[in-house]
């Protein structure tokens, strides 16, 4: 079998509203670019196989696993949003506020991914039921077991957004 010489190529990405030109090899994962090249440590490696959700980021508003997304397959006009891009003018996002108010975490490792998943959920379903929240977040694991508080936080976030429409 032939060996492949890795060549870094320039790619254009839009991350948290900023256009970036980066040099990456074809086998580079989005998670590694975010953490190692852009210093965005919110998304984290958990399972590495898109099961646990700690690396959740939004791609054009939809949750995806950065650990299983090749940068080479992204289009320059696609927008990547990480937890670092959520706040507006220094003010935390309603989902972040709700997580703090409900203490919806313990160790915090799953929190950035969890919050990004909740952003995806509330965008398509502004008033989810408990069952709908459980169903949508079933792929975001919290090993501390903060799920009950997380579900409360989602309801509170939905309420905050309802009272302060963008």
């Amino acid at each position: 079998m032939e060996t492949v010489r890795q060549v870094a190529r320039p790619v254009e990405l839009s991350v948290n509203g900023q256009r970036r030109t980066l040099f990456v090899t074809d086998n580079t994962l989005l998670l590694d670019v975010l953490r190692d090249q852009l210093g965005l440590a919110g998304p984290k490696e958990g399972c590495g196989v898109s099961a646990c959700g700690t690396c959740t980021v939004l791609l054009d508003g939809e949750p995806v696993s950065a650990c299983l997304t090749l940068v080479a397959q992204l289009e320059p006009n696609q927008n990547i949003l990480t937890i670092e891009g959520l706040s507006h003018g220094g003010e935390p996002d309603p989902v972040q506020v709700a997580f703090i108010e409900e203490s919806a975490f313990q160790c915090g490792y799953c929190t950035p991914g969890m919050i990004m998943a909740v952003k995806g959920l509330l965008k398509e379903n502004p008033s989810p039921t408990d069952a709908e929240i459980r169903d949508y977040l079933m792929g975001n694991y919290c090993r501390c077991g903060a799920h009950t508080d997380i579900i409360r936080a989602v309801h509170r976030a939905a309420e905050i957004i309802r009272h302060n429409p963008a």
Partner: protein, 291 residues
Amino acid sequence: MAIPAFRMHHPKSVKEACRILADLGEDAVPVAGGTALLILMKAGLAAPTHLVNLYGLTELRGLQYDPKVGLRIGAVCTHRSVERHPAVQAHYPMLAETHRRIANVRVRNRATVGGNLAHGDYRLDPPAPLVALDARLKLYGPDGEREIPLAEFFRGYYEVDKGAGEILTEILVPPPAENSRGTYVKFVGNAAADWPILGVAALLRTAKNGQVDDLRIVLSCVAATPLKVSGLDKLTYGRQLSPDCIASVAEAAATQAGPIEDARGSTWYKREMIRVHVRRALEQLSGGSGG
């Protein structure tokens, strides 16, 4: 987790993708969402030196419904696009429900229908309901285009009828028959997103008086390829789906399956679960309570 080095090719058309694949032979693999392939590569189970990116090919996108022709799903449509499509929800509720239950939302946002089928894993959800619906596939390769029934596409564990340089381009589902309804029962034991122990796709067409015209049951997770239960006509045609009738169908399914054992169940256990979940699927279709 690092992925072994490879070179990514970005063809501009299906034709070009097919030519690259044919030229490079077995060192090259087509990739769409990558959710299956990249896991294999991370685990060291696959190390292709060339990947051919099909994700950006607009020819392979798009989902159309025509009441006369049926549903056409471009091979790189994501599971999410199928699950949320109004025409799929309206005319193929079983298909929408099946896609909604694949893995988790992040996987469904990237993984594609064509990639799912071409992966050939016996535990995947879409094959059973699509086989029950008589879906067909279009493939494009060095010898041109061909169309085959999906049921004939599956050959064995991770083995599908797709030649060197061939690309799966479309999934075609005939229009739903009148008075037909289907359900997909996914039986999962551990975490919600774990591989299922068993999948049951049941598709029922009834006459005006409620008698069975046609009943199809296709099982996943019990054999190397989706298993279509045979001989159901003899047990059900012209009858009501009574508890006795349902029990006879569940028995036939359990007997025919001779299920393979895997990490999620022994042969004995899977056979018992087939009996239970085929019954539940049919109770659901006949308007019963299930349970």
